[in-house]
Symmetry: C2
Subunit: 295 residues, 2 copies
């Protein structure tokens, strides 16, 4: 073992991803394990994490683990209040996982950790002020970083996908049913939103309608985020952004149509892709170690 | 002159209000002057403020002035980027006013100063976490205070009244045209939103429709604020809140209908009324003096 490192772990609905990063942030190893099914207590997930830590220790001495999980996550109490994908309800994840491992554990939420990664070393690196991160995936959520401070509000901030649409053709639907990648794919009966994008490029009318609906509702959410918090930059993540101009051009138009002349925010694609949350988890671990160095 | 004090000044569209507060925060005097009309440079407004300072000095030694103005206000640069009511466009208000007076000047925006007043000594006193303040007046704006930090984002945060409605019967209208007190009064052809409320209580169908529209759009704005930032408390200000349950009961229902089961925020009426911004201005002045005491 040449030098010490931290292990970032991102628990998702289907897999648990881990990245080992050395003191310079260089990746020294990546692993993936299936997420235990029906692990309502979090104990089996903790056991998988312990196993991944043991494997990582074959590569480097691990000084700390950074763990991020999805859903409504209160970083201060270390509790996952709700994660539908994992069947978690008020699970004290931090304490459970800490009891399985013998190095310090930093704990956070996946979207906010991804935002941190994009702010520190991604699309928003060097942007002072306010950054909004929106990963467009199976669901839709957001994170706000204000001058380096990650807004959580006890875990409830950023649930933009859960707003119930109250007028127009989608009344009664939640925003993420129309505007997430998963929602668009499901409405179109396709395997993915990129498959929907393919149909749009071929001129399919129904796919185009579903795509336009998604863009409009996403623009609506972004207009409200701007009205409330005025980010200098929106960073859009998730595979959907691979559609490029097919997504971003109409999105910028729909966004501008919902606001009066204003300081236009930059709308940028995320850099870290699916790894953002895991990379953010390594930063949380580093920050925990740095805080420990304080007098 | 018994003791020293600070002077808080709130520049509005029709009048400039000033409050002299001693070191304990007790009011020792209040004054009001008409806002100079067509003062696009800010110079005449500065002269009025200098005059108010001289008058206040007849009561107490004034250690600092806190000044708040409406519109899009960048606290850091001291510039009012846009205040439609005052005809101001990129006016360096802080420098102009400072050049007219010989005590330190703290500078801010009226809505955010009002939020500070409600958080320190008003409806949200003692609330840790996140507070959203929404004064419902001629227009509609909001301010977020997150653990004592007032979000500004260069002055652009909180312009919720400017979002253009994009579906339903009010498509193309801005939110404040439907949901502000001024907007409701104008739609109904009444002198004030409270006059509209009177008609609602008497069963007037048209007034009831306008009132319900306003409540629904306000609830929509609040649902988005909650989705983005998850305030622990909403503090509603402005004369409209005098309508009490006629406003708050349907508002809570409409708000709840737009969100899934969640940690319900408290929805409270503001305490400081029209004086909130002026009181906040005195706090800005006190804070400036306290910062000056630091090494």
């Amino acid at each position: 073992m040449i030098s010490s490192a931290v292990l970032g772990i991102d628990v998702g609905g289907t897999s648990i991803k881990a990245r080992l990063a050395d003191a310079a942030g260089i990746t020294c190893g990546e692993w993936r394990e299936p997420t235990p099914i029906g692990d309502s207590s979090g104990e089996r997930t903790a056991a998988v994490i312990r196993g991944m830590l043991e494997v990582a220790r074959g590569e480097r001495a691990v000084e700390a683990v950074g763990l991020v999980v999805p859903g409504i996550v209160d970083e201060r109490s270390g509790v996952c209040i709700r994660a539908v994908n994992l069947g978690w309800l008020d699970v004290p994840v931090r304490d459970i996982v800490q009891s399985h491992i013998d190095v310090p554990l930093a704990f956070g939420q996946d979207v906010r950790a991804g935002a941190l990664a994009e702010c520190l070393t991604g699309a928003a690196a060097g942007v002072a002020g306010t950054v909004a991160f929106i990963p467009i995936g199976t669901g839709l959520a957001s994170a706000l970083i204000v001058e380096g401070f990650v807004m959580s509000s006890g875990g409830w901030a950023g649930e933009i996908g859960q707003v119930v649409i109250s007028s127009g053709p989608h009344t009664g639907h939640r925003v993420e049913e129309i505007a997430s990648a998963g929602g668009m794919a499901q409405r179109a009966g396709e395997a993915s939103a990129l498959a929907v994008a393919e149909l749009v490029l071929r001129g399919d009318a129904r796919a185009t309608s579903i795509w336009n609906d998604g863009v409009a509702v996403l623009a609506e959410a972004m207009a409200w985020i701007f009205a409330v918090a005025a980010p200098d930059m929106f960073v859009l993540g998730g595979g959907l952004t691979e559609a490029g101009g097919l997504l971003l051009d109409p999105l910028e138009r729909e966004f501008a149509a919902r606001l009066p002349p204003t300081r236009p925010p930059v709308i940028a694609r995320a850099v870290h892709g699916d790894a953002a949350a895991m990379i953010g988890a390594t930063y949380l671990a580093r920050r925990l170690l740095a805080a420990g160095d304080l007098p």
